[in-house]
């Protein structure tokens, strides 16, 4: 098996995650799909690290994790305060940008 298959898997997972972001209305699930996309990227980075024989890819993946953790913290806080004010976690309900 060629290790490039990991990249194919990463692309597939990324696409599934992106489609999920577009399809789902529940903000929490949307967030999970974003996490899925990030993880797919991490897999690609790790694979690249193996491909090039150095650890820089892993470092990037590491940083991605840190940033993802920060993002999750803030995002979930937003979802919680949104739910508190609107009693709903649907992203469509927060369509205030329309006239």
């Amino acid at each position: 098996m060629n290790p490039v298959n990991y990249l194919y898997l990463a692309a597939l997972l990324f696409t599934i995650g992106a489609t999920g972001v577009l399809i789902r209305r529940n903000a929490i699930v949307v967030f999970m799909c974003i996490e899925l996309m990030l993880n797919a990227c991490n897999l690609a980075f790790v694979t690249f690290s193996r491909m090039h024989g150095n650890l820089d890819g892993q470092i990037i993946a590491f940083f991605t994790m840190v940033v993802a953790a920060a993002e999750v913290v803030v995002g979930l806080a937003i979802i919680v305060s949104l739910f508190r004010t609107r009693h709903s976690a649907s992203v469509d309900d927060a369509s205030l940008m329309k006239l």
Binding site: A18, V21, L22, R25, V91, D92, A94, S95, L96, M97, K98, L99
Partner: protein, 648 residues
Amino acid sequence: MENLIALLIAAPLLGAAVLLVGGRRLDAVGHWIGTLLSAASFVIGLVLFAGLLGRDAGSRTLIQHLFSWIPVAGFQADVTFRLDQLSMTFVLLITGVGSLIHLYSVGYMEHDERRRRFFGYLNLFLAAMLLLVLADNYLLLYVGWEGVGLASYLLIGFWQHKPSAATAAKKAFLVNRVGDMGLSIAIMLMFTTFGSFAFGPVFSHVGDTSQGKLTAIALMLLLAACGKSAQVPLQSWLGDAMEGPTPVSALIHAATMVTAGVYLIVRSGAVFNAAPDAQLAVTVVGAVTLLFGAIVGCAKDDIKKALAGSTMSQIGYMVLAAGLGPIGYVFAIMHLVTHGFFKAGLFLGAGSVMHGMNDEVDMRRYGGLRKYMPVTFITFGLGYLAIIGFPGLSGFFSKDKIIEAAFAKGGTEGWILGGAALLGAAITAFYMTRVMLMTFFGEERWRNQPTRSPEAPSAEPAAEHRGEHAEPHPHESPKVMTIPMIVLAVGSVFGGAFFSIGDRFLHWLEPVTGHSEGNSPVSAWTVTGATMVCLVVGVAIAWAQYGRKPVPAVAPRGSLLTRAARRDLLQDDFNHVVLVRGGEHLTRSLVYVDHTLVDGVVNGTAAGFGGLSGRLRRVQNGFARSYAVSMFGGAALLVAATLLMRAV
């Protein structure tokens, strides 16, 4: 000596400024300031005249360059004055007759609250007219031309509280604008053709310019002259201009304004000489106006309007003469000067009559006034004899020359023009005799007159406005009014003879205008004889109609021609139907086109964009997921583009 020329204009201009700016403080002396400055201008004119006489006939042209007005490369407009024999003649006429009219106005406007302002306007009128005749280029002439238009507007509408006066002023201004447009176009044409609009360069380059351009310029100049001189087809303002005070009518008709057109044609003689087609047009305009004015003058019961018709007719004579080229230029100016005398005298006489008759203007309510105002009667009578061309008086000499010159034009044209001039002389004799008889002879119709019948054709609001229906008490005017009339009467009696005997006037003007004797198919004596016959016939018919029979106090219905003539030969109706209605239709259709086509395109575009954006707006539905789809689609496109770039 050249430096005095500017003073000619400066004196009345100063008067206008002082009187108009000075305010009520000058109410007590304003009229004397105006008269004095006008007279000062006349005195300066006399000094200059003496100076010119002291020179050779060939070197009687004085140029005063005052300052450079618009110094642009390729476009030089200077304030330069030219005083030659032609402008000298006009200066003396304008300031002389103008000063007499000022003097007369002192008495005539005595009871008017706004007399100071009136004199300010009179001075402005003189200044503008002097600027017009003294200018050395057409642009400066145009300034004076417009100034005359402005001053005439102010003076015709001087009694602006009367709607008729305000309307008449507006009408005069608007009709004059048409002519002004002709002059401005002519100036533009001159600039493109000759590269200059100063008299010298224009006249010297006439020889090497195409016939078509010259004809165009000349026709535009003719249009301008028609506007100012009230020639057909721009004659309609003159009759209504009688709404102004009578001295204004005298000033407009005798010394200023209407003579400007004749001056323009004679001054531009070099251009007209080189454009025979335009000259023919000038003669046609002159001949038509001559008859037109005379016919209108026959039908009017308003003494001033009858005289206005007469002015139109006499100016027609001058324009006719001016259109004849070098044969007629001198005679046109000579008639202009003599006409200045007797027409001013006639108007001042008419004003004197009105002054004594509670501002009544309807001649059917005059009659037998010779006993009550002898001085007016005598001066008016002398003016009358002069205008009909009674042998020995000034009109006889000047008009006779014009008729001769018309015949001397030669060919069929000569016969037609001469015939028209002769016919005009007969009609002139008729209507002037009619005015004379109705005013000074016959029964005293002003006694025990019934209340004015509403359908009286020349119902004048002036009498009503003064609120006097009481029987008038005719009386002679004060000395300040009669003296100018006497002076003018003397001029009307002796002017023609003085000019003609020994061809003084001819020799005086010849260096400027040039002169040539035409080959008249009929001898001078024959023409004089024919004129005399016409004169006698005209007077006889008038006597038969108005002298022998009593004049009805209410105008009879009259023939079709009479009724048309009372309506100024339908000129206003023509203007209304053709120009006003036509203009209305034109603007209405233009508005329609504007609304449907122009606005349609604009509004359609706007509506199209509006609809488009209304549709595009739906894309902005506020759902974050929809925006995310566009982002994701964009990302996909970026990937595709990257791949494509790699593939290429």
